[in-house]
Symmetry: C2
């Protein structure tokens, strides 16, 4: 027995770190066991050039992420707004690259039909409880079809259907046919902002960035918890009884506590051996929460030349390799940064290419969209998540048909002394940093109540 | 280091045991590490009454299961035919219970339309290679929709659609909307018999049973391998390099070999920690192969009274709790045995009931279908698989949309000294015992070639 604590937390992502901080503040001794050699989980800031921190993982918070704004303020991490001024570029369904004005002139009806569908999604999502989506009046029907099938049935034009797919895959990081329609409605409802989820506009999910990089948050949390944090400690076995857990890590290291909070994604949580074994319904839900696929590719230029040309750095494209981009310049720096997103099928395909070829294909797209100035970035970096053994995919876990209605109740329910966190178990902003914190609050609340 | 061998095999199900036997026959030393305290995996024979061996798991082989007939002969296990004489009962879409004759009189057109759909499935499946379903000419389209959505689009009557769903769920053990249409076609093609898959008729998958119970096979294989088999040894870590594997079991037991064959279902294989970590594509495919849900409930009567009444012991019902049944009498015994199947949603719902209530609900159905003689079985036994920690669902793993086309190539491809077996990786009779043996043959072939 290497060490005892009150509560062992599995995973030093945002959820686990936040849970540990809250437990410590409440007078309990937490101990975080992290498999990786770093903290942060799906938060990972890398600087290809000094002073240019870029987010391989989580990047933004939105206006309603009140927990995150509070946490950043408490940790002394400053924020700045996402740059939005200017027009978006479009290349969809063989039109070639169009400026926003021309795109709206030619395809205004298509855009209007997408907005009508988003408004319908809002209306339907309003009937879905984020705490218990399986109780929605039409849950059974909505969980019996895929989001893609529902989209297909909306009578959209190819332009509109493609636009809707790209926007949705930008959230889910898997094709819409891989998720249940109820899951899509849950995703919208858990964010509480309806169609704004799909935009970087006011009220949306992606309005605000962190000075110095998102990892400032988890780094500072980890620094406050340095005596309660063990890295390179993959948890392999959790023996549990009513009032105790014994946790075995790879290599024979053993720890004991009164409770455990497993603050990793459900798929990864299923890879721990629990003794006694967990109920079948819990096991089966964790078999049904595969992670999406997402890559981010960053181009650093001498300056943000697109801004002078009246563009916001965003494109929406079905040509690819990337389907979307945006302006990711660092506040206070002269360099220009464009972030290209590869999500779902794009990430699955292009992450298998070698980096040089992938970069070439993406630069060809950048030149096509933003002109010849885009041809010569001064630096490039990209990042992928399925290859990282302690994450295995991004942004989050998505439910296929019948998962919510059959197994949803088992997703976060405690089992004896075992509690479950991670943004994938959140009921507010699930899949976002806000959800990581919300799920940690919920798990800590359960633990405090049971220990009181 | 407790022990060294040539090849470590993870899992003492049929696939692992067969692989070990083949390796031993080829002059190599295998070592099987089994997590459970028994061999057999998804084969489990229980006898609620002496002389009445019943199959909680795999029960039948079919006429084209040549490997299984050969193996049974080699092991001295006798076979006998599934009883088929007599008529089936139907209760579908509010008709009440109907004899087969009346059902066909009233709903002959519906049955004919189901047969037309099955014939279409055969035609389409013929274009799908079981070795590489992602190469089928229409793979992309077929993998983009669910089997359920394709069924819905066939213009069937409620009776026909319900009949088709029940027959298909009887194979997949999940609702058809949970699997990709390409996966359904793969499933048909892997069996090489088309629509016969759905029947117990000649050429089908369920024509033949084993004297003394299916576990005779795995018991006798295990007896031949008693020096190469360690029970209660859950594998948690596999360290691997080009020419060696070091395998760590729970509790610190360590074994070494030149190669490993991981002969457990892909979902369970994902729960092992591999060092170095496996490629992302391999990890993601194992995240996307959830196990189905199946329960079998057996009623033992003094005699098979239904046979005298002209019935074959089979019903097809959308009332439930069971959707299908058949005659599972033991050859040479006077007792009558009816086996009721609960698959997909039925298993998920009723396995959460306590056994007494579940038995009552099923007996009510038996009386409704087979009359008052069914009210008083002399014994009852049922079995479920999601609660069993080393199986976690039956009958097998099923692929949702885009899994085959995106990840299929990574399902059974060796990685360094690691090879993959289990019926879920088979290309002939995947999900059946025949597939377990076929996958073991393939994995052993790979190992022998690499060691030669």
């Amino acid at each position: 027995m290497e060490r005892e604590a009150d509560v062992i937390i599995v995973g030093a992502g945002l959820s686990g770190l936040y849970a540990a901080r809250e437990l410590k503040a409440a007078g309990y001794e937490p101990l975080i066991l992290e498999a990786n050699d770093r903290t942060g989980g799906r938060i990972l800031t890398e600087s290809p050039l000094p002073g240019i921190p870029l987010e391989i993982g989580a990047q933004w918070i939105g206006d309603t992420h009140t927990r995150m704004f509070r946490l950043a303020a408490e940790l002394g991490v400053q924020t700045y707004p996402q740059f939005e001024a200017g027009e978006t570029k479009y290349e969809l369904c063989g039109t070639g690259v169009l400026d926003q004005t021309e795109f709206y002139q030619r395809f205004g009806d298509d855009v209007a039909s997408v907005n009508r569908v988003l408004a319908t999604l809002d209306t339907l999502a309003a009937t879905v409880s984020a705490e218990a989506p399986w109780l929605a009046p039409e849950a059974a029907q909505w969980d019996a079809i895929t989001a893609g099938a529902w989209y297909d049935a909306q009578g959209l034009t190819p332009i509109a259907r493609t636009l809707l797919e790209i926007c949705t895959v930008g959230i889910l990081a898997v094709p819409t046919v891989e998720v249940s329609f109820l899951h899509l409605l849950f995703t919208i409802q858990t964010c509480g902002v309806g169609a704004a989820l799909f935009s970087e506009a006011e009220g949306g999910a992606q309005t605000t960035r962190f000075v110095g990089g998102t990892a400032q948050l988890t780094d500072r949390l980890a620094a406050q918890l340095s005596d309660q944090l063990i890295l390179d400690a993959p948890v392999q076995t959790i023996e549990h009884s009513g009032d105790s857990v014994t946790v075995h890590c790879r290599g024979g290291r053993t720890f004991r506590a009164k409770r455990a909070i497993v603050a990793i994604a459900p798929t990864l949580a299923s890879r721990i051996l629990y003794d006694p074994a967990l109920p079948g319904v819990r096991d089966q839900v964790t078999q049904r929460m595969p992670h999406g696929s997402a890559m981010k590719a960053f181009f650093i230029y001498e300056e943000p030349f697109w801004r002078e040309d009246g563009f916001n750095g965003q494109f929406i494209s079905d040509v690819g390799p990337a389907h979307m981009s945006n302006d990711t310049c660092i506040e206070g720096r002269e360099e220009g940064v464009i972030l290209a997103f590869l999500e779902g099928a794009q990430a699955r395909t292009f992450h298998r290419w070698d980096e040089i070829k992938r970069r070439e294909a993406l630069i060809a797209q950048m030149v096509r969209v933003f002109g010849p100035k885009a041809a010569h970035p001064i630096a490039y970096v990209d990042g992928e998540w399925t290859e990282r053994p302690w994450t295995r995919g991004c942004y989050n876990a998505n439910m296929g048909p019948f998962v919510w209605t059959t197994y949803g109740h088992a997703l976060s329910a405690p089992i004896g002394p075992l509690h479950w966190a991670s943004t994938d178990t959140a009921t507010q902003w699930s899949a976002y940093m806000e959800g990581a914190v919300e799920s940690a609050e919920r798990a800590v609340g359960e633990v405090l109540q049971s220990l009181a």
